[in-house]
Assembly symmetry: C2
Homo-oligomer: 292 residues x 2
């Protein structure tokens, strides 16, 4: 089907699956029509609650999301899932656009799933209303990262594969790490789950709902969303600047020559950066403290 902008808009609002699929692919490909669509739909968004799901590879994030989706559908809630593909250069814009479109289609809930760690994890944490960290016995790196303060404290933690002999030990370990931080208003609950059998999934959902209720007291949710949107706008703009930079260098012989000179040690890399910033962004970089 060939959608007109008005049909696509109406289709998304009505929650039509094909319209949504088309709209999301426009956003993910960074097509200009996507901008129009987001502009038109944005005023009606803000109803969907966004749960970001992070954690190391192999712990069962996808199965746990499937189990949560089944559970909340049983509660008559509508749900969308966005998977963040870290290999896509448009990650940021796509994440933002997908979330807005699912929200506009009247979904009650959106799950944002990270694939892998690093950048995509940071992005999802930055835009979620509630961050769920999934661990399993044996995911020692994450425990160390939590302990060292390198990983942000999530809002809710699931220790998945609860039948594993070391599950209880891990539960206690996570509990003792969290107990070090007494200043937090919200104490992240930890739930033992078994995603494939759906065990303790209703319990996990109840903890997520409690976190939501906590945020909805006073102005916390609105404030978090304002902060998240700010972060998101910055992140999309930075990603765009980076993309522009790469295309500019690829398409400009003088800039390519600059890089070759660095490679031959005829030009130092910091001077090369200054010249690139000047040429691509018309920015004086380096000696002006404002653009350092």
């Amino acid at each position: 089907m060939n959608w007109s902008p008005a049909e696509l808009q109406a289709g998304v609002r009505a929650g039509d699956r094909r319209a949504l699929a088309r709209a999301i692919s426009l956003v993910e490909d960074g097509e200009p029509e996507a901008y129009e669509l987001v502009r038109a739909l944005y005023p009606d968004t803000g109803n969907a609650y966004a749960v970001g799901v992070t954690g190391p590879p192999g712990v069962g994030k996808s199965s746990l999301i499937s189990a949560l989706v089944r559970h909340v559908r049983g509660l008559d809630l509508t749900v969308g899932v966005v998977s963040v593909d870290p290999s896509s250069p448009f990650t940021q814009g796509a994440l933002l656009g997908d979330r807005i479109l699912l929200d506009a289609s009247g979904k009650d809930l959106v799950f944002l799933e990270t694939v892998g760690t690093g950048q995509s994890e940071i992005e999802v944490i930055a835009i979620a209303d509630t961050v769920l960290l999934v661990l399993m016995p044996g995911s020692g790196d994450s425990i160390q990262a939590l302990k060292a303060g390198i990983m942000e404290i999530p809002d809710v933690i699931a220790v998945n594969k609860m039948d594993h002999p070391a599950a209880k030990t891990m539960l206690n370990e996570v509990r003792s790490i969290l107990s070090l931080d007494r200043a937090r208003e919200w104490r992240p609950p930890i739930v033992l789950t078994e995603a494939t059998r759906g065990e303790n999934v209703p319990e996990l959902w109840a903890r997520i709902e409690e976190h939501r209720a906590h945020l909805e007291e006073g102005d916390r949710l609105a404030e978090r969303r304002r902060q998240n949107l700010r972060t998101e706008v910055f992140a999309v703009a930075s990603a765009r600047a980076k993309g522009h930079l790469e295309r500019a260098v690829a398409g400009d012989e003088e800039l390519r020559r600059l890089l070759d000179e660095v490679g031959r040690r005829e030009l130092d890399p910091l001077t090369a950066v200054q010249e690139i910033m000047q040429k691509v962004f018309r920015l004086d970089d380096g000696n002006d403290p404002d653009t350092r």
Copy 2:
């Protein structure tokens, strides 16, 4: 001591500790004098071999680096260590500058150590001649990430804390993951180590030297360094663009108002990004496929 630019340059070249410390802090603070210094010293660099050391927190990276430093000093090599602090906004520039200054001071070797995971890890991997990944039994997340192809294959792997009962199991697991990739020219060796007692550290160093010899055959090392420098120049330029963006928004009332409008849902975030790109970088973004 108050160094003149010429004194500082001479001090760094002579390997004077105080001169190096002063130069490195100029670079890390992003001071304009640092640019001059890097410009002057860069032509004489390229002699130091850079070993990047990555791995999850808590596996003993620092102790292993200390043990390697003791070992190579015993071989009459001079060594510098750069620790990458991911909390610094100047990470990229500092990493580049520190490496150049240690190189200019005549060090034979530079170890680049990452703290934590994520961005700083990606940066170190991008500029090292040899990447050493340190694991220990229990660092399950990394094994999963290697398996899933999310983590880049390093050049050499150390499984530290070799006395741990699961060390051999881990060695075999890593070996079987690596064996899946038969296309690589270089098969990453795996060494069991015990950093605190210095056990197998000479063996580990020998494997790093073998990787270096492999790169020095033909044009591989020169090609890798050209590629690394390119990546580094891009990374510093992107970080600068991001910094400029943040300062521009903070200092411009109109841009701050834009973000507030997004928060109140009066303006959609993608349009906000377009307006920011236009105002800060004078870039038409969005409808022009070249700046998407």
